[in-house]
Amino acid sequence: MEEATAKMNPHENAAIVVELVRRLRDGGSWCGATHLQKTAYFLKHLTQVPVDFDFILYKHGPFSFDLRGELSYLLAQGLLERKLNEPPYGPSLRPGPRAHLLAARHGAAADRYKREIEFVSEHLADKGVVELEKLGTALWVTLNTSATTAEERAREMVHRKPHIVYAEALEAAREVDRMRAEWTPA
């Protein structure tokens, strides 16, 4: 699968992130920073939306320090905001008080990738961080290692993330295969 390589305008990048947050929340996602990290990984590396974030396999699966910085900027600009939840739970993200200005000016970028955002949201919005970590790691292993079969990839996942049980890694690898088979680029 071709890797997305074209860089996106920073405002368009921001518009897509905010729209992804909106769709995830609409789909019932808790939408914490970890949820957003994993779903953004699928948006870029499964549906090929050229968002300007590089990912490594780090905390809880694929992680982008670029996206971490982007979230910080969007929070500072009021384009996203944190919704505090009752302890013990962490905060969630939601569109901020100025998000409507971003949508009005750069909504076309989010519209251009509406199909991709909807696909990722529909498949991942109902997943918790544990499941997203497994799926994200499965996709990462699929795209970045020489392992081919689901079994090989599951073993690779367990090697890199020992806390993931083999049976669950195998199911995650198969789920990723189903998603990749179902996604058809326009």
Partner: protein
């Protein structure tokens, strides 16, 4: 360590070599062994004596002349304290022992402590003159100070130190020194991910703890001080806070409940230091002027990335160049130099108000474009912190972290009203040539409403 004899030899050598100490105004004493002393005596590390920790901030805070040399020593001292704390046997949960077994084994733990200390010592080796100020535009594509740091860690000058017994792995040192995102490793090991947080972690990284306290002390700004002794004494590796009953397994650096006030003090100190010192508007424009100067002064407008050329370039050479240019010529280089040396810096004329931010997406961008059209691009500068900016590599908002509360891990913002409300610190303002300040301000008073109502996008990038 292959056998008991080798382990005993390791300890014996350590005892024979002795421990050295140097006084430090922040930590009282910094201790190091002979091998660390070899690193300290290297050309790469000694160069840090001539790199200001706070760039050009001494033009605003005259006492801020401290350097990255003593900061790196301080980070090493703190890194060891944190490591000893979080790897204490009674604080390592079964989950952490399973995921990071290296921390539960005495001899592997000793290896990782040595690696961490060296990483702390080396973490700033690759800084350009005047630290972040000159980096963004002055290095070739693909280069930053982290990459230079990694190159120096792998250089011939330091290689013999790593090869000494017991051997240290420069790849591991580099990963802990600059964080996994800056090293060509897309899948760090659990122990590397955990320990990289000790130095570069966005909440409790000791790099931040040392520079906040040290910068506060030297700048004479009281807001940066907090009880870091108490904070370190409550650090622990914890599972992340849950999301609606769902919790990831990988540990993160958090605190016991008793440390919440020291953590609040840290994050407030961070916010105040950003607003008062790091984002001070005069300091920021000096950074911009320095960048303009160096782009003309350096051969081909680029800092050298060959190690000999890089190590030969410090604040001293740049300062000499500034003084020479400021007083010897009327050319463009002299003009840039005089903005710094003779305090002919650009003056701030606009920051967005709440009303402006409610009216349009990018008011500063629109004002910037309009001022450039009116007064010329050379007379106007826009300073903004964006995700792409190289001069801040941490969140603008107070980071979230786990807190051990009644034997479970909870989110910091859920248990602390203070942490939930610490605002983001950011920068977004416009400067003009000092001779145009009054005219620009008067012009904006009459034109701002038209500019912001015009529907422009302010696409120009800040310079």
């Amino acid at each position: 360590m292959r056998d008991v004899a080798e382990r005993d030899l390791f300890w014996e050598r350590g005892m024979r070599r002795g421990i050295y100490e140097v006084r430090d105004p922040i930590h009282t004493f910094v201790h190091f062994d002979a091998r660390e002393r070899d690193v300290i005596n290297s050309r790469a590390f000694q160069r840090l004596r001539h790199i200001h920790q706070l760039g050009m901030s001494h033009f605003v805070y005259p006492g801020a002349n401290h350097t990255r040399f003593e900061h790196a020593l301080g980070v090493m001292e703190l890194a060891a304290r944190v490591f000893e704390r979080i790897t204490r046997d009674d604080l390592l949960t079964d989950q952490v022992r399973d995921l990071v077994p290296e921390l539960a084994d005495q001899y592997q733990r000793e290896h990782w402590l040595r690696t961490l200390r060296m990483a702390a010592l080396c973490h700033d080796l690759g800084h350009l003159p005047f630290s972040h100020a000159a980096e963004t535009e002055l290095l070739p594509d693909g280069w930053n100070h982290e990459r230079l740091t990694v190159e120096l860690i792998h250089s011939d000058e330091l290689a013999h130190i790593w090869e000494d017994s017991p051997p240290l792995n420069p790849d591991e040192i580099a990963k802990l020194a600059v964080g996994p995102s800056q090293v060509n490793d897309s899948s760090p090991k659990n122990v590397e991910a955990v320990l990289s947080e000790v130095i570069t972690g966005e909440t409790f990284g000791v790099d931040r703890i040392d520079y906040l306290i040290r910068d506060s002390y030297h700048a004479g700004v009281a807001y940066g001080r907090f009880d870091h002794y108490r904070l370190i004494d409550t650090l622990q590796l914890l599972p992340p806070a849950p999301y609606h009953g769902d919790r990831s397994q990988e540990p993160a650096l958090g605190i016991e409940r008793g440390g919440i006030h020291s953590a609040e003090a840290l994050l407030l100190a961070r916010y105040f230091m950003f607003k008062q010192v790091y984002f001070h508007h005069v300091r920021r424009i000096y950074d911009i002027h320095l960048q303009d100067f160096m782009a003309l002064w350096l051969p081909e407008g680029r800092c050298p990335v060959d190690l000999d050329g890089f190590l030969a370039l410090t604040d001293n050479e740049v300062t000499a160049g500034l003084l020479d240019a400021a007083y010897s010529g009327g050319d463009e280089l002299g003009e840039h130099a005089r903005r710094i040396v003779c305090r002919r810096h650009f003056r701030r004329v606009y920051e967005p108000s709440r009303e402006d931010l409610e009216a349009t997406l990018d008011p500063t961008g629109e004002i910037y474009a309009a001022l450039r059209n009116r007064f010329g691009s050379e007379a106007v500068r826009h300073d903004r912190i964006t995700r792409a900016s190289e001069d801040i590599s941490e969140p603008l908002e107070a980071p979230e972290f786990p807190v051990l509360f009644d034997e479970q891990s909870v989110s910091s913002v859920g248990v602390s009203d203070v942490l939930a409300k610490v605002p983001e610190a950011t920068v977004d303002c416009i400067y003009v040539h000092p001779d145009l300040r009054e005219e620009a301000r008067e012009w904006l008073v009459t034109k701002k409403r038209d500019i912001l109502g015009g529907g422009g996008d302010g696409e120009d990038e800040p310079t």
